[in-house]
């Protein structure tokens, strides 16, 4: 099969590049090995200090609401982090004093949301907190299998029963001006969030849960749907196992499922993610990129990879594949002429802001723009 561009990796970076290229009339395929980091997405993109209207528009076309309001957001442990561009699920505030009194609500039997930590953190900001666990007959079915009472399972129930929550909350609420809820709403229909917000006489703040991330999965579903509507080919559950490279130009890649049916393209985009997604692999001796054997920036001595103080910033988190200034990946000191590296595989994630979503978006657009421009010349 032949495409204009083959994108390796079907997460945020790969899908953003794919959608941009398909919109420009370029045929693409995405090869995705298992699900991706969007399933752990907190809802905010870092490194987005300038208002990125282009991304807001691109997401709006996929049915995903974003807003830009530099400030802070409430984290699951009750702390606050800087944030700029975020999903509409996330509430952004000018500063951590977000109200006077907060009602924190979760569900009996749900262990992936920590109300007491949240209350502790908010009280440090002088916000008085009250915690309440809802006991809903709608969730009794889930409680039979407590090990699987997870965000997504609750969210599936809430897609039909969110009005019950609203009724309960309206009874519970006294004089609180803030209501904190776990992000378990709007898996298939994000309008549920605004309907909940409109129905509660206080500001509703949805806070992240342990994975899987409900807003993240919704984002993945909608971006993938948008990509396929634009005519993109999304190969799920496959893996690139080799490539045909001559004179620093990739001609085709080989995948596990397609075997001797090679995928040819003029351009290739590597968006395989960081260590978790196995875009980067490590062993006791070195850190490597498994598909093309690209150069990976790393300290030579393994002892310099990490900081023994666990909670400190860890050097290995900044490691990534080497590229030239135009994001062409480098192997053996030479750039591969038609391979762009984008997303978390680049390293340099802004750990102070928590994640690599902004890097994924910006590098994806940068690579896609070059491919589109190339064709015009």
């Amino acid at each position: 099969m032949k495409f204009n561009s083959v994108i390796i990796g079907g997460g945020l970076a790969g899908l953003t590049a794919g959608i941009t290229l398909q919109k420009a009339g370029k045929s693409t395929a995405i090869i995705s090995t298992g699900q991706n980091a969007l399933h752990f997405f907190s809802g905010s993109f870092e490194s987005m200090e300038e208002a990125p209207q282009r991304i807001v528009d691109l997401f709006a076309e996929a049915g995903i609401g974003l807003h830009y309001a530099p400030g802070v957001r409430l984290m699951p442990m009750g702390t606050f982090k800087k944030a700029t561009l975020s999903l509409d699920d996330v509430s952004l505030f000018p500063d951590p004093k977000i109200g006077h009194k907060a009602l924190i609500v979760s569900f009996t039997g749900y262990h992936d949301f920590f109300c007491d930590f949240l209350a502790d953190g908010l009280e440090k900001q002088g916000i008085q907190c009250r915690v309440n666990m809802l006991n809903l007959p709608e969730l009794e079915m889930l409680e039979k299998s407590p090990s699987e009472m997870r965000s997504v399972q609750i969210a599936r129930a809430m897609d039909h029963r969110w009005e019950t929550i609203v009724r309960e909350l309206r009874i519970l609420i006294r004089d609180e001006d803030i209501v904190v809820l776990p992000q378990v709403f709007g898996l298939n229909d994000s309008s549920i969030l605004s309907r909940i917000r409109q129905s509660i006489p206080a500001q509703v703040v949805f806070v992240g849960t342990l994975p899987p991330s409900v807003p993240g999965i919704r984002t993945q579903i909608l971006l993938k749907r948008r990509y396929e509507v634009l005519g993109g080919t999304y190969l799920i559950g496959d893996q690139v196992t080799g490539a045909h490279v001559y004179d620093n130009v990739i001609h085709s890649v080989v995948t596990q499922n397609l075997g001797n049916h090679f995928l040819e393209a003029d351009n290739f985009i590597l968006a395989t993610g960081g260590f978790f997604s196995k875009g980067l692999k490590s062993n006791p001796f070195d850190i490597s990129e498994p598909i093309f054997g690209l150069d990976v920036e790393q300290a030579e001595d393994r002892n310099d990879w990490y900081n023994p103080e666990f909670m400190r910033e860890q050097p290995y988190m900044k490691y990534g594949v080497a590229t030239d200034p135009t994001l062409h990946a480098i192997a053996g000191g030479e750039p591969i002429k038609n391979l762009f590296a984008i997303g978390s595989i680049l390293g340099g994630t802004r750990t102070d802001m928590g994640m690599g979503g902004g890097l994924a978006l910006r590098s994806a657009l940068a690579a896609a723009d070059q491919i589109i421009k190339q064709a015009e010349q």
Partner: protein
């Protein structure tokens, strides 16, 4: 750098990071609280079972082996294989007669075929369904697949000579469904391949692939069939033939389940077993042409069967259908139809089976196609019964659209 490879166990359960992504994609977990879910049933449970088989949970029988957990896993854990292997290893309860009956597709087919009109009439009767429900717990709400009076193998026997006349040859693993229930699909494949100048032969002695036996823990029977099939496939491959298939589940079983669950070595034949849609797509890509009817028009919605998704070959069926002029194509959302072979026929699974398929049925109704396209026979029964829409294999649609 072999230090890690040496420490990996079968189905690599220790690669699991506990990220829970699989639980978000399990169709059973959404409808059946008795099922512990793929993470608990797979890698988490394996850790415990290795310590003490006491920790085996009978709830694992609710897994329908759709493999969506494996497709979703970011760490490459063979979650579904872990679950199926655990059922085989630890569930020592005797196999029920009902399950033997459902799984013996070859045997039932050869019994029913000579008396097909009677068998079809009888299985369609309310009283039969009530009795089968009462005696065997085969759900009375199910529609049974119809048997064909003439087997596909017999039809092929009558056309052996004309098929042998084609300069190029392939072998066809037709499976029980084409042979006993729906020979038309086999004939459609022959029609398309002949139009490409390719003749079709049967394997020397094909047996049921055994997928239903594996899922019903009839391991001796399944292994016997697997060994016979490997012999037959090897003979064809030695003659230089590719072996084509039209069922995604038979294909996955022959290629992947034999080594993973039965320990039967298929390395000599695996790469020669191809879905016909892939073979034909590759032919067209290399320049072969088919003559399409000029006035053909059909609105088709394509459903990717779970095992097709696991094979990763749905793209060939999709691209093949899209090459047909006059065909309006819609890709349905990736979702399990809920039947999973014999699973949905069992009374204890009927409700879950229908609930799993509901989003797919709803989407089909809203798309309102002329036909649904799909490469799996049990999905076909499920979708036809639950939506009323006709389901056709992409090969049959292609056969209908070409002029010969």
């Amino acid at each position: 750098m072999k230090h890690q490879e040496y420490t990996l166990s079968t189905h690599n359960f220790e690669e699991c990071m506990k990220c829970t992504v699989c639980t978000a994609y399990c169709p059973v977990l959404q409808v059946n609280p008795l099922y512990p879910g793929p993470k608990q049933a797979g890698p988490d449970g394996e850790r415990l079972r290795l310590k003490d088989p006491f920790f085996f949970n009978v709830g694992l029988k609710y897994c329908l082996n759709c493999k969506r957990c494996e497709v979703a896993c970011p760490s490459g854990v063979k979650v579904a294989d872990l679950i199926q292997a655990a059922r085989i290893k630890y569930d020592t309860s005797p196999v029920k007669w009902r399950d033997r009956l459902l799984a013996s597709t070859d045997f039932m087919g050869s019994l029913a075929r000579p008396v097909a009109p009677i068998a079809n009439a009888v299985t369609g009767l309310g009283i039969t369904k009530t009795m089968m429900d009462a005696m065997f717990k085969i759900d009375h709400r199910r529609t049974f697949p119809k048997y064909s009076g003439r087997s596909f193998e017999r039809w092929m026997g009558r056309h052996e000579k004309e098929q042998a006349a084609f300069p190029e040859q392939v072998a066809y693993f037709h499976g029980c469904y084409v042979n006993y229930n729906f020979p038309r699909l086999g004939k459609d494949l022959v029609k398309v391949l002949n139009a490409l100048g390719v003749g079709v032969q049967l394997l020397e002695k094909e047996k049921c692939c055994g997928v239903a036996m594996i899922s019903n823990r009839m391991m001796n029977e399944a292994t016997r069939n697997a060994n016979q099939n490997i012999t037959a496939l090897t003979k064809a491959v030695d003659k230089g033939l590719m072996v084509l298939t039209t069922s995604s589940t038979c294909t996955l079983t022959l290629r992947d389940e034999y080594p993973a669950l039965l320990g039967v070595d298929n390395s000599g034949v695996r790469d020669f077993i191809l879905m016909a849609s892939r073979f034909i797509y590759e032919r067209l890509e290399k320049g072969a042409t088919l003559r399409f009817k000029p006035d053909y028009h059909k609105k088709v919605a394509y459903h990717t069967p779970c095992h097709m998704e696991k094979l990763g070959w749905g793209v060939f069926s999709e691209k093949l259908l899209r090459t047909i002029p006059g065909l309006e194509f819609t890709m349905l959302d990736s979702a399990c139809c809920g039947i999973a072979g014999t699973y949905g026929f069992k009374r204890e699974n009927y409700e879950a089976s229908q609930a799993i398929g509901q989003p797919l049925f709803d989407q089909i109704k809203s798309v309102n196609p002329d036909v649904v396209a799909c490469d799996c026979e049990t999905c076909k029964w499920q979708i036809e019964m639950s939506t009323g829409y006709t389901v056709m294999n992409p090969i049959s649609i292609l056969a209908e659209a070409i002029e010969v």
